[in-house]
Structures are given as structure tokens and as C-alpha cells.
């Protein structure tokens, strides 16, 4: 086949480039295709729990990278607004240093600061009213020796930067709030009460508020800090669960996968608590049979562009979908590679070549990695993973070497791109 036109190639590249969709946006909605069936749709589960809980709820979502979680949370936001809820969605990546231990005092301050920042949205309180409710004023009474960032005019933005990037600043906060956790919690709740009242006043009716905290699952130390970060997260969710939840508010938080993997009774820590997991899309069953998700993904790809220009036939596209293991980011990367190769013409061997390139990103696998992956691949679960290997398994899940799937229960498999290598080793 002839090489495709460069303009078409460029358009396809941009359409297939991996980025989270914002379903609150009209244009992005055109690109969206639901991939989960009703029975396994995590957004539906989250929505139902919120809708069925009378006053408040806390739902924790264990999400893995590159599985479309941010896009799906934007769908949840859209559905909730349409159902009459007020929604505040916060990307905590902007506020928290995800690689240092998190402290309940910082977390509460961040939570209040993040809500304060989002309130300026026109759908909530608007710029004027939102700023009036600035948490900075309230913090003045809590922190008598306030660092200059808080007193400055652009307080929230500076505090956000300092909290995220300066361990020294965080240390000062901790020190000044030492032994005053109850007072801080009381202040945060009072502040939240003010927010609800202001929202009620503006809406002229009772308000059902949902707070979505995204990116908390990035709270994972690396290397030498991983153990301390992990302990701090456990303490946050198990010891301080009651302080995290906000009164009269539904909360959805994406949390690190290890909380979910540990299997402790996390949901019971919260009122109307539930834990959901965001699996990879199941393109094959445990036995290897093709599922209907493949058809949905084909429709998704069709929404983004005419894949026939970059692949010889549907069998080739299906081959890529299956090789991605339902890991959307990998699939999009493979399709971008298909766009690249189509510049030299599309041929029968395109799919194999693309898979080879995608496979090389994960290789070489080292002996110590293969040993652990081999055990998971054999049993399709994590039962044989030793305690000291848990950190490594989490890293495999983070990088996509291991994929998590959901039927009635969760099961795990090695990424199809390296499955044969693990098996043959």
C-alpha cells in the first residue's frame, strides 16, 4: 500500500495521542466510547453509592496508571452535575508532594486550600464569593507564626507551591500544628460548613456536594522513601479516616493500589464507605478467549480517526488490542507507532512490527523480575507473592508489566507483550 498523506498522518497522530478526556467538554465527548459493561462499570458503581447514600459517603478508588481513570472520573463528574449534585474535583498532584510522607495536618490544610481554590468556579460560588471564603483567613488564627507565603496576596497559590515543593515549609506547618489536630479538624469542618451554607444560599435549595480527589494514588514514595510514604498513607486512611471525611458531603478519592491490595477492611473505616478498583479493560478472558470489549475498543479507535489508513485490516487492529492487554495507554502508543510506519506504506506485517516496538519498551526483563512475574502468570493472582515482594509487584502494576482485571473477583496477568518471554524463561 502507498504511504499515507503527511497531513492525514499528522491529524491521526494528534487524534491518537494519549491524553485524558474531559467529558465536561463537548469536543472531548465526541471522542469518548464507554468500554465497561453495565455490570462492571466503576463509574456506575460510584454514582449509585452516592445516589443511594442519604447524607454522606466515602468511596476509595484504587486505580492503575494508564487505564483511563481520569477520563472516567470526568464522566462521573458530568453524570453527577446532570443529576443535580454540586461537584468539586481536585487534582491533588498540584498540591501534594507525592513522593514524601503525607501528614494528616498537611492533608487537611491541603484539602481546605484545594476546595477554596475550586470554589471560585462560576458553577460553584464564582470568583468574588469564592475568594471571600478563602481558607487563608481561617488559617491566620491557626498559625500564629505564619510564613510569609500565607500572608501574601496570592496566598493560596504560594502555599500550594510551598506545600508541594518545600519540605522545610511542611515541617514548619507540622511543628506549629503539633498537638492541635482536634482544633484544626474543628476549623476545617467549620470552614466546610460555611462553604455548604454559601452554596445553599447561591443555589436557593439544599445542595448535595460531591468532592472528587484525583491523583492521590500517586502517593507512592520511590526508592528509599517508599516505606515511609507507605506507612504515612496507611496512617492517614486507617487512623485518621474520621477526620478525612467531610460532613454532609460525598467524597471520592483515588488511592494508592497497595491500600487495596493489602485487603484490610478499609471501607469499614468510613461512614457509607466503599472501595472500588479500576481494572484494565478485559480484552481476553482468563482462558484467553476474546471478549466483546475488543469491539468497543474498535469503536473507540474509530471515533478518533480512520484506522484503515494505518493498518491493513481489522485483524491487525484486533491483534494490537489484544497485545495491549486492555491497557489503553499502550494501545494508543501502538497506534501512534502505526501512524509512524504508515508513512512508509501499510503492509501485512505492520501489526507484528508495531508489537515488536511496543514489546522492546518493557525489555530486557531481568532474572529477579521474571521470577516474580512467572508466579503471578501461573496462578493469575497475587497469593504467591511474598511480603517482601509486594513493593515490586506494585511497581509492576504501576508500569503495566502486571495488569489487574475484574470479573466477579479481581485477577491478575502479565502484560501480553511480555507473557511469552516470562513463560519461556
Amino acid at each position: 500500500m502507498q504511504p499515507i498523506d503527511r497531513n492525514i498522518q499528522r491529524a491521526l497522530f494528534r487524534a491518537l495521542r494519549d491524553r485524558p478526556l474531559n467529558l465536561m467538554d463537548e469536543e472531548d465527548r465526541k471522542l469518548y466510547e464507554p468500554l465497561h459493561d453495565d455490570r462492571h462499570d466503576p463509574v456506575k458503581r460510584l454514582f449509585d453509592t452516592i445516589d443511594f447514600s442519604e447524607i454522606e459517603s466515602v468511596q476509595l478508588v484504587a486505580g492503575f496508571r494508564g487505564t483511563g481513570k481520569t477520563t472516567e472520573l470526568s464522566r462521573l463528574e458530568k453524570d453527577l452535575w446532570e443529576a443535580g449534585f454540586h461537584v468539586i474535583r481536585v487534582d491533588l498532584d498540584d498540591f501534594i508532594d507525592m513522593h514524601s510522607p503525607v501528614d494528616i495536618r498537611e492533608f487537611l490544610l491541603i484539602l481546605a486550600g484545594a476546595l477554596s481554590e475550586q470554589l471560585t468556579s462560576e458553577r460553584l460560588l464564582g470568583k468574588e464569593k469564592g475568594l471571600e471564603k478563602s481558607f487563608v483567613e481561617r488559617m491566620r488564627s491557626l498559625l500564629p507564626k505564619m510564613p510569609s507565603e500565607i500572608t501574601a496576596n496570592a496566598g493560596v497559590a504560594n502555599v500550594k507551591l510551598a506545600l508541594r515543593g518545600d519540605p522545610g515549609f511542611r515541617g514548619q506547618i507540622r511543628e506549629q500544628l503539633s498537638g492541635r489536630l482536634a482544633e484544626l479538624t474543628k476549623q476545617i469542618r467549620a470552614y466546610h460548613g460555611e462553604i455548604l451554607e454559601a452554596l445553599r444560599e447561591r443555589a436557593g435549595r439544599e445542595v448535595k456536594l460531591v468532592v472528587i480527589l484525583d491523583s492521590l494514588e500517586h502517593l507512592r514514595g520511590t526508592g528509599e522513601t517508599s516505606e515511609t510514604v507507605r506507612r504515612s498513607v496507611e496512617e492517614l486512611f486507617f487512623t485518621h479516616a474520621a477526620r478525612i471525611s467531610l460532613p454532609d458531603t460525598h467524597m471520592v478519592m483515588s488511592v494508592p493500589a497497595f491500600l487495596f491490595l493489602e485487603g484490610n477492611n478499609l471501607a469499614a473505616q468510613f461512614m457509607n464507605g466503599a472501595v472500588q478498583a479500576w481494572p484494565a479493560y478485559q480484552v481476553q478472558r482468563r482462558g484467553g478467549e476474546r471478549t466483546e470489549v475488543v469491539d468497543r475498543i474498535i469503536r473507540l479507535v474509530e471515533r478518533r480517526g480512520d484506522w484503515r489508513k494505518i493498518l491493513p485490516d481489522q485483524a491487525a487492529l484486533e491483534r494490537l488490542i489484544v497485545a495491549s492487554g486492555g491497557h489503553l495507554r499502550d494501545l494508543l502508543n501502538m497506534l501512534v507507532e502505526a501512524v509512524h510506519l504508515s508513512g512508509h506504506g501499510v503492509n501485512e506485517g505492520s501489526a507484528e512490527k508495531i508489537i515488536g516496538v511496543a514489546q522492546r519498551a518493557y525489555l530486557p526483563l531481568y532474572k529477579d523480575e521474571i521470577e516474580v512475574l512467572g508466579r503471578v502468570a501461573a496462578n493469575k493472582n497475587l497469593k504467591d507473592v511474598r511480603a517482601e515482594e509486594q513493593e515490586r509487584v506494585l511497581r509492576f502494576l504501576d508500569s503495566g508489566l502486571l495488569l489487574c482485571y475484574l470479573n466477579d473477583d479481581f485477577w491478575y496477568d502479565v502484560h501480553p507483550l511480555v507473557r511469552d518471554i516470562v513463560r519461556s524463561a
Partner: protein, 647 residues
């Protein structure tokens, strides 16, 4: 390009053409040559498409700091980070790369929001696992991984073993990672705590100052150190606790000494270093645990710096003593330590400097013995670790030092052999990293070989080396046409050619080479490093002018024999001759303006004025002849001012 290099380049171009906003990719492979090819192609592509290409090739110690620098709002364009090279051992690069990818992972959002362009991280194969394990966010958003040196099937028969990066190296690099963050931390502490300053503030300032000095930001480092010293002085009387512990104080004093050295203030630098070394030497035996390691490491480093200052000052005995003490401390290191290779490299570097001190002291035989011994060890290490480029770097330094020493001793054959070996090493390094640094080294070695051949009066060989240098300089200038300084390099090599041709008696050849050198150099700003070359050009123009003046005496005969062509007529020959003298005067004048005490050049200009005056008169140009006469007299009168001892 090999097929897999071409494939990798094709993929890279595709992304360069299509990506918008921030993007991230890897170029990996254990062989540095294909990576270098890809890097150069990318540089060329960016140059041709108006995209800024920023190459970041720091030493391992400064690698992690790049993550912060880029997150702070780096300029748009392509940022190519080279995380491998001869400046560090493989394990040092792996440790530094671990730090880099960790820091990059933490700043992914900052890059996404603030960086309009791509980051390409180039390194060894192990980079893939480091990224996958330590920076899952960055791994997850990778645009592609190019492996230009990986031909053949992807599936291996046996899985390789993984070696964890040496964490002690990370600990060593750690405190130096981000001096700006340490400085911000200190500023906040100062704002929150007010006065008096706390020990944590002092530690943050010390870390910032050390990091800034390491990054070559001497003025900022000096400001930090001065602020810290002022606070230490202020609090000396009233503070209940000490701001810095004794080791911290010694580190600060030594650091101030190093900063003074960077500013060419040798006396205060030595005073500060002597104070610090005196304290460390007297107390290191009582230090325990981390303090002991810290004290020994400081002492070793400061002794090395002290030795180099003394060597620059010409105090060879003092330098020898300093280097010897540094070597004794390095030799006492545990050979089982994971940092053994690093210590070996430091040891060999100290031995090379010691040999230079011994030579400066007047014992070239001992110096040669020390250099040959070091060279033998290095050759053994390089053979044992063929993938480790770091050894080649020291091998090159040793060979250069030995070559210089042999040349000074008059062993020209030995010098030539050693320089040739150094050239071969430099060529390998240049193949891996075709950049300015190795280009200059090659240039210097070619020049050395050219000088040696000249000293051996092997003019054809000298001419061949000079022509090689000229070709290299011309190629570099063609690649970077906007760099005017490269014109000076081209002029240097035309001048060298001219001198060799003149010595060979090839007057027309020398004339042509001189003309080329003149065309290259006449409009260039005069740089300090080019003064000698300009002086040489002035002298050569004078010599060639004199040669032509000799021919001018027989000019009527020439005119008859060669049918009176304009250039060969007596008048034409005279004009030609006058041109050379004029150039000698103009070039010499430029030298005298910046180096008025240069008596040789003054003499050349004076004589050129005198001869030119006698040529212009018969040619009918009396006005200029008078002008030359006046100039000669002026030079002659001012000569006295420059014959005093100070001149």
C-alpha cells in the same frame, strides 16, 4: 547510519515533526556511538527547522539538578539529556540517573505545564529499568524508546542479571542535588524564625553554597558563604549553641578557599584552605561514624585543591607535599568498598598531579617514572572494563601529561609516540561524543604532533598535521557558521601552514597560506588566546615581505624572462611586497595595542615600517612613505618606555 540507527532516527524525526507541547522519550543503548549519531542528527534537524536544541551533558554529580532546572521553566525546544559518558563510572551514572529520574517523576506535572518541547533522556540499557522502577509516571507517558544500537531479535535466550545502583554514591550526590531548593529553604527558615539564625538555616546555607560552587555558579556560592560567615560572626558572642558543628565550619572555610581560587585570589585561598586542613588533620583521628567519613572526604578534597593552587603558583615542593598527603588518605580506603573504582580514579588523578609537581621541582626522570606507572595501571583498568569510558578519559590525560613532559625533556620520538596514542584515545572519545570538548582536545593533540614534527624538522609530516587541523577547523566552522571565534582557529592553522611552507622554502605556498590567514583574521575581534598567533602572522608577513624584497632587486630580469605580466613586473612585485609589510604593520599594531611590552613585535613593526618606506618612495606613494617614516620614529621613541625591567 546502520539500519537500526536509521529506523531509530526515522521514529525520532516523526515525533520531532508532530509532537506539540511537552513530550518525553528515551534513547538507550550500551554502545555510545549510535546514540551520538542520533544526537547529532537531532541537533542538525533542530537547527534546520528553527527548533532550539539544548544539549545537557553534565557530570554525574550535576545530573540530578537538571530535573529541577527544567521544571523551573526551561526555554522551549528540544532538551537532550545525556546520562552517560566518560566523566563517570557506569555505577556513578546509574546512581546519578536514579536520582534524576526520581526527581523528574516528581516534576512530571511541572514539565507538562511549563515546558513547551521535548525531553529526550539518553543513556545505557539500564536506563529502561531505572525509569520503569523509579519513575513510573514518566515511563507511563513516554512517547517512544529509541534503541539505535539494538539490532536483531528482541527476545533473549537468558535473562540478564540486574545490579542495583550503588546507593552510597547516591548519598554522596544527594546533598548537592538542588542548591536553589536549599537556598529557598534557608530563606523561609530565616523569614519564619527571624534572628538569631538556627543551625538548620546554617546547614541549608552551607548546602546551597557547596551545591552552587559545584555547579560552577561561583558568585552565588560566594554570596551564600559570605552571608553564612556574617551570621556566624554575629552570633559568635550571644548564641547558646553553635550554628555549624566543627566539621561544618571546616567545610565552609575550605569552600571559601575554593571560591577564592576560582577568582584567582591565590593567597587568601591558601590561607583559608590551610586553616581548614589544619583543623581537619588535627581532629580526624577523633571523629567517629559519619563524621569520620565526612572529615576524611573533606580533607582529601581540600588537599587536592591546595596542591593545585601551589602548583599554579610554582611552589612545587608544597604541591608535592599536598598531593602526597591526599594520596596517603586515598590509599587507606577499604578496597572492598563499593566505591573502590571511584577511589582508584581519584588516586590516579592525584598521582598525575603529583608527577607534574615532581617535574616542576626539577626531577623529570622521577616524574616520567610516576606517569609511566600510572599509565600502566590505567591501561590495565581500561582493558578490564572495555565498556567503561571513564578510564579512557584518564588514559588521555596521562598520555597528554607524559607527552608534554617527554617533549620538554627533548625526547621527541617518545613524545610523538605518546601523543599518537593520546590521539587514538581522543578519537574514540570523539566518536562517542562528537562535541566541542573532544574537538578541542583533538585540535590540541594535532597541534602537539605538528610542533613535534616541526622540532624534528620533518616538514612534510608537520604540514600534514597542520592540514588535518585546518580541515577540522574548517569543518567545525561550516557546522557552526555563527560562531565567529572559529574563524580564529581557521586563521591559526593557515598561519601554521604558512610557517611550515616558509621553512620549507616554498615562498608562493607560504604567501597563499598567509593570504588565507589574513582574510580570516583581519576582521576578527582579538582574543587573548589568539595573541601569539597574530604575532606569528605579523612576523611571517614580515619574513615573506623580506623574501619578496630580495626578489625585487632582480625584478627587471624577471620582467624580461616572464613576458612582463602585471603581477611579475617590478612594480607589481613591489606592491605585493608592500602588501605583506602593511599586513605585518597592521597585525603587529593590534598586538602592540594590547601588549605594549612585546618587544619582538615592536621590532617587526619598526623594521616593516622602515622597509615599506623605502618601497613606497620609488612607487611614487610619497604621502604614505612619509606616514610610515613618522610611525617608525614614533615606535622607536616609545621603545625606551618598554625596555625597563618591568617592561
Amino acid at each position: 547510519m546502520t539500519p537500526d540507527e536509521a529506523e531509530a532516527w526515522d521514529r525520532l524525526t516523526f515525533h520531532l515533526e508532530n509532537q506539540v507541547g511537552f513530550w518525553f522519550a528515551l534513547v538507550v543503548g550500551d554502545d555510545p556511538r549510535p546514540r551520538a549519531t542520533l544526537r547529532e542528527e537531532a541537533r542538525r534537524w533542530c537547527g534546520g527547522h528553527g527548533v532550539a536544541f539544548h544539549l545537557h551533558a553534565p557530570s554525574p554529580e550535576l545530573l540530578a539538578g537538571l530535573a529541577v532546572e527544567l521544571a523551573r521553566g526551561a526555554p522551549a525546544g528540544m532538551h537532550w539529556i545525556r546520562a552517560d559518558g566518560p566523566d563517570g563510572l557506569i555505577e556513578q551514572w546509574d546512581a546519578a540517573t536514579s536520582q534524576l529520574v526520581l526527581a523528574m517523576n516528581e516534576r512530571r506535572e511541572a514539565y507538562r505545564k511549563r515546558l513547551d518541547g521535548g525531553i529526550i533522556l539518553e543513556g545505557r540499557d539500564s536506563l529502561k529499568r531505572l525509569l520503569r522502577e523509579l519513575a513510573p509516571d514518566m515511563f507511563s507517558i513516554r512517547a517512544f524508546i529509541a534503541e539505535p544500537g539494538t539490532a536483531g531479535p528482541t527476545q533473549r535466550l537468558t535473562a540478564p542479571e540486574w545490579h542495583e545502583p550503588v546507593h552510597s554514591s547516591i548519598a554522596w550526590i544527594g546533598p548537592m542535588v538542588d542548591p536553589d531548593q536549599a537556598l529557598r529553604h534557608a530563606t523561609r527558615l530565616a523569614a519564619a524564625e527571624g534572628s538569631p539564625a538556627s543551625p538548620s538555616w546554617a546547614q541549608a546555607m552551607l548546602t546551597a553554597a557547596a551545591g552552587l560552587a559545584l555547579a560552577g555558579r561561583t558568585e552565588e556560592a560566594e554570596r551564600c558563604a559570605d552571608a553564612l560567615v556574617a551570621e556566624l560572626d554575629r552570633s559568635a558572642g550571644d548564641a547558646p549553641g553553635e550554628l555549624l558543628d566543627p566539621w561544618g565550619n571546616a567545610a565552609l572555610t575550605g569552600l571559601r578557599g575554593e571560591i577564592a581560587w576560582c577568582r584567582d585570589e591565590h593567597v587568601p585561598a591558601l590561607r583559608l584552605l590551610d586553616t581548614s586542613i589544619g583543623f581537619l588533620w588535627g581532629n580526624v583521628a577523633h571523629a567517629e561514624g559519619i563524621d569520620a567519613g565526612r572529615a576524611i572526604s573533606l580533607l582529601r578534597h581540600q588537599l587536592g585543591v591546595r596542591g593545585q593552587i601551589l602548583l599554579t603558583q610554582g611552589n612545587a615542593a608544597g604541591a608535592q607535599d599536598s598531593f602526597q598527603r591526599q594520596i596517603d588518605l586515598l590509599e587507606a580506603e577499604d578496597p572492598r568498598s563499593p566505591l573502590h573504582q571511584e577511589v582508584q580514579i581519584k588516586l590516579l588523578q592525584a598521582r598525575r598531579l603529583l608527577a607534574m609537581a615532581i617535574a616542576a621541582k626539577g626531577d623529570p626522570t622521577a616524574a616520567e617514572g610516576a606517569l609511566r606507572d600510572g599509565l600502566m595501571r590505567l591501561e590495565r583498568e581500561a582493558e578490564q572494563h572495555p565498556a567503561e569510558a571513564r578510564w579512557r578519559l584518564d588514559l588521555l590525560e596521562y598520555r597528554r601529561a607524559l607527552g608534554r613532559l617527554l617533549f620538554e625533556r627533548g625526547d621527541l620520538d617518545g613524545a610523538r609516540e605518546t601523543y599518537s596514542a593520546a590521539l587514538s584515545t581522543a578519537r574514540t572519545l570523539f566518536e562517542h561524543e562528537p562535541d566541542e570538548r573532544w574537538g578541542s582536545t583533538l585540535d590540541e593533540l594535532h597541534m602537539g604532533l605538528c610542533v613535534i614534527a616541526g622540532a624534528l624538522q620533518e616538514w612534510p609530516a608537520a604540514l600534514a598535521w597542520a592540514e588535518q587541523c585546518l580541515a577540522f577547523a574548517l569543518r567545525r566552522r561550516a557546522q557552526q557558521p555563527l560562531d565567529r571565534g572559529l574563524g580564529g582557529h581557521v586563521a591559526i592553522w593557515h598561519a601554521q601552514r604558512a610557517e611550515i611552507l616558509h621553512r620549507q622554502g616554498d615562498l608562493p605556498g607560504a604567501k597563499a597560506a598567509l593570504l588565507s590567514a589574513w582574510l580570516e583574521s583581519r576582521d576578527l575581534p582579538l582574543q587573548r588566546g589568539h595573541l601569539d598567533v597574530v604575532a606569528l602572522l605579523a612576523r611571517l608577513h614580515f619574513d615573506v615581505g623580506c623574501g619578496l624584497a630580495g626578489a625585487l632587486v632582480e625584478a627587471p630580469a624577471l620582467r624580461t624572462e616572464r613576458h612582463g605580466r602585471r603581477g611579475d613586473s617590478a612594480a607589481g612585485l613591489a606592491r605585493d611586497c608592500a602588501g605583506h609589510f602593511k599586513r605585518a604593520i597592521r597585525l603587529g599594531g593590534r598586538i602592540i595595542a594590547v601588549r605594549p611590552g612585546d618587544r619582538d613585535t615592536r621590532l617587526v613593526v619598526e623594521l616593516a615600517c622602515s622597509v615599506l618606506c623605502s618601497i613606497l618612495g620609488p612607487l611614487g606613494d610619497r604621502r604614505n612613505a612619509r606616514r610610515m617614516r613618522r610611525r617608525r620614529r614614533a615606535l622607536h621613541r616609545s621603545r625606551g618606555a618598554w625596555t625597563s625591567p618591568s617592561g
